[in-house]
Amino acid sequence: MSSLESLTALTREASALAGGLPMARLGPAESEVARQMQICNACRYCEGFCAVFPAMTRRLEFDAPDVHYLANLCHNCGACLHACQYAPPNAFAVNVPQAMARVRHQTYQTYAWPRAFGALYQRNGVVVAIALTLALAAFLAATLAARGTLWQTVEGGNFYAIFPHGILVGMFGPVFGFACLALVLGLHNFWRDVRPLSPSGGAAPIDAAAGAQAAHDAMSLTYLGGGHGEGCHESDDGATLWRRRFHHLTAYGFGLCFAATSVATLYHYGLGRIAPYPFLSLPVLLGTIGGIGLIIGPAGLFWLNLKRHPDHGDVSTRPMDRAFIALLGLCGASGMALLAARSGPAMPLTLAIHLGAVMAFFLTLPYGKFAHAPYRVAALLKFAVEKRMPSRLRLGSD
């Protein structure tokens, strides 16, 4: 047995014994996290970087729910890999961000609703490509069917002249509704397994302070700051804040675009004001600012993803990451193009492309990279709740 194999066997044995649980309950990716946490728990140098390590120190054993919780708490910032005395070529071969990323990919599959759709996370790049192709084809064909051409100036830039409002609602409503349902049920499955328990064994209460902290950590991306606030790692051991900035542009850009659509819906039904709206109206302003974010943000995230160190995270999920980022960018860019082109002859074509991109986005929403958001927020909430409870361990803090 090589020294690496023997160390791996020894630490696996250690986590199995500590837990008193057969490691067979854990798959290879999960038991690798358990093995690495056993090593990290005896070292703890990385405690200041993020929430994962303080959460780890509350445990002596790492069963499947612990592993999935910790994996989703990990933001893949890379700090602990570059700082690790046990990272390869050391025989202990610790790479926490990579081991966590592999388990996260399993979390998405294991807890997906319906369960069979979890398979869509595998070869996710292909899934997104097919969804986008079909959605684009459908909207281009529908536009042709409605107008007989893709190139025609429509009076007043009125989208509803091509697709009446009711038809759009009829198409997007159910798809959006299903996406929300699938995500909520997936999250429900996850929470059932990982929810924090009170010392008495029942579900721990979630107080407002814990909720506020989780919301703050999620919305400000606290753990892409590296603990020192200088940021996370991309291609090397230098810290940068660009991932956090681009993620903010993307997430808040998406939020503003979503708000634009919501306001427009209110205008439509509540105020009887029918689109198109002028440039300085609330829906267009929100959509414009959001759209700019949704172009710059994904472009930046894509660029960072391309230059990310191969040891960061799980390279096999990069097609999923990039497909999602590219699709978000396409939604943003096509939306802005539509705004620019709405009074010209390119409007029908641009509209079909934009609607196709948005449709593909919502179709794949519960079965792609977006899933990281609900699971991450749930893990942050558990961390915030758990942190407020006393630790069961007294590891000689003397």
Binding site: S3, L7, L10, T11, E13, A14, S15, A16, L17, A18, Q38, I39, N41, A42, C43, R44, Y45, C46, E47, G48, F49, P54, T57, L60, A79, C80, H82, A83, C84, Q85, Y86, P88, P89, N90, A91, F92, G227, H228, D237, G238, R392, L393, R394, L395, G396, S397, D398
Partner: protein, 478 residues
């Protein structure tokens, strides 16, 4: 001092080594404008020597500072070192290290080092030791990045095997046939702990005819072969220290031969008993707090037959000490545990029974020097003595784990290497290779990094000064 017309193989400061002391010297000299090259024997992936395994630096302070609580005045720091070294120290150099430690962290921060509060399970260190965020490898990464920004040349895979001297004066360093000429040189290439043959020779054979060092594990780097240390001594440099003195702790016997680092330690000794291969106790497990005693157990185990010890605890200890990286042997009876550990069951049972019978249990409190002690037992256990009577029982086999050796070159307060009592004008030493000037024996957590940081900076500053005084560069500076 930078002069692009200089031949590329001629430097102001040649730094031999690539750990904390080397980088502190290189950064200090480069800040002053010197042309510096770092010659690291390890490949890039293994750079940084033992520093990558460290986690904190012991610092004096008269009032609370960011991550440091209360105060740790000079005199207390000095007394701590006096105690652990049993007086085998050089007061002037030690006090210099202590005083400079009060202000070095601002400089460290300036080079990108971040500090974090004391780690969980180490509250006792929050007053004396400032922890590096992410540990020593993160610190080394920050220093290397800073060195690159300052234009320091860095060569990996470049072990130096000899130095060309002109009397006491450094002329050049050689890596094979490659020659690195410099106005000055800083030696910061560690002790000789990775050189197993040297360790074997230094420790020799014990009363049972065993080669003691054959059972050692090296907790840190595999690259500290002591080539420069031996070369310097052979060239007439004044040596200091005993080759068998080292930072030596008892670590899990299953630890890898090199680079097991901190995780291979086993922190349960003070919660139970320690026996040797005869299943007999041999030292007071409760003499003092574990952080003050962990560094004596390596030598204690090294003195036992087979260089092995067994820490025995019961279920009461679980959850009270830092988790170990490997699982202990576990059994429902002591006899069963003994056979799993290849100890004589009868002897272990009688050792534990004698221990249990002598325990005078008071109020157990692992956070203070409590009143649970043994009576009429030799050796005694003076604190935290509670009967080992609650199954399951657990046992860890422990071996001596060498962190770094103390045999080194003698230096003065300018970090100058001495030859027959006279300082070299341009050869300086820092870090483990001269730590023996401060640590004649014993250890206290984080002081290795204090010595490396302070003497690294002194060596760098003195090398810079020596460059500026050198005729060869006066015209360039002007």
């Amino acid at each position: 001092m930078s002069d692009s017309n200089q031949p590329s193989d001629s430097w102001d400061v040649v730094v031999i080594g690539g750990g904390n002391a080397a980088l502190c010297a290189a950064l200090t000299a480069a800040e002053g404008g010197a042309r510096v090259i770092i010659l690291e024997s390890a490949p890039q992936a293994w750079r940084g020597g033992n520093s990558v395994h460290t986690r904190n630096i012991r610092c004096m302070h008269d009032a609370p500072q960011d991550v440091l609580t209360e105060a740790y005045p000079e005199e207390e720091f000095w007394q701590d070192l006096l105690k652990v070294t049993a007086g085998k120290t050089t007061e002037a150099l030690t006090r210099l290290v202590i005083r400079e430690s009060a202000t070095c962290r601002e400089w460290m921060r300036g080079h990108g080092v971040h500090f974090q509060p004391s780690l969980s399970g180490t509250l006792h260190l929050s007053r004396t030791n400032a922890f590096f965020m992410g540990g020593g490898k993160a610190l080394m990464n920050a220093y290397y990045r800073s060195a690159e920004r300052l234009g320091v040349a860095i060569r990996y895979d470049t072990p130096i095997d000899r130095i060309e001297f002109d009397g006491k004066r450094f002329v050049a360093a050689f890596s094979g046939s490659e020659r690195f000429e410099g106005l000055t040189c800083v030696l910061a290439c560690g002790g000789f702990e990775s050189n197993l043959a040297w360790q074997r020779e230094a420790w020799g054979q014990n009363q049972w005819g065993e080669w003691t060092a054959d059972n050692f594990r090296i907790r840190g780097t595999r690259f500290n072969m002591g080539v420069m240390l031996r070369h310097l001594i052979d060239q007439g440099a004044d040596a200091i220290g005993d080759p068998t003195q080292a930072h030596c702790v008892a670590i899990d016997a299953r630890a890898p031969l090199f680079d097991g680092g901190i995780s291979t330690r086993v922190d349960c000794v003070s919660l139970g008993i320690m026996v040797n291969s005869d299943a007999k106790r041999f030292y007071d497990e409760g003499e003092d707090f574990w952080p003050k005693r962990y560094a004596i157990w390596g030598r204690l185990v090294a003195a036992q037959r087979g260089q092995i010890g067994y820490a025995i605890i019961d279920a009461k200890a679980i959850g009270r000490f830092m988790p170990a990286v490997f699982a202990p042997e576990k059994a429902d009876s002591l006899a069963q545990l003994a056979s799993q550990l290849s100890l004589d069951p009868k002897t272990l049972v009688s050792t534990v029974e004698a221990f249990n019978a002598s325990c005078r249990e008071g109020h157990f409190d692992h956070a203070v020097l409590d009143d649970c002690h043994t009576e009429g037992l030799e050796p005694p256990k003076t604190h935290w003595a509670r009967p080992i009577d609650t199954p399951p029982f657990f046992g860890y086999a422990l071996r001596p784990g060498i962190t770094f050796t103390y045999l080194g070159v003698k230096v003065d307060s300018k970090a100058a290497v001495h030859f027959a009592g006279e300082p070299s004008p341009n050869l300086f030493a820092a870090g483990e290779i001269m730590a023996g000037n401060v640590l004649g024996q014993g250890y206290t957590a984080g002081v290795g990094m204090t010595i490396g940081t302070i003497f690294g900076r002194i060596a760098g500053a003195q090398a810079l000064l020596a460059c500026q005084q050198s005729e060869r560069t006066t015209h360039v500076i002007a």
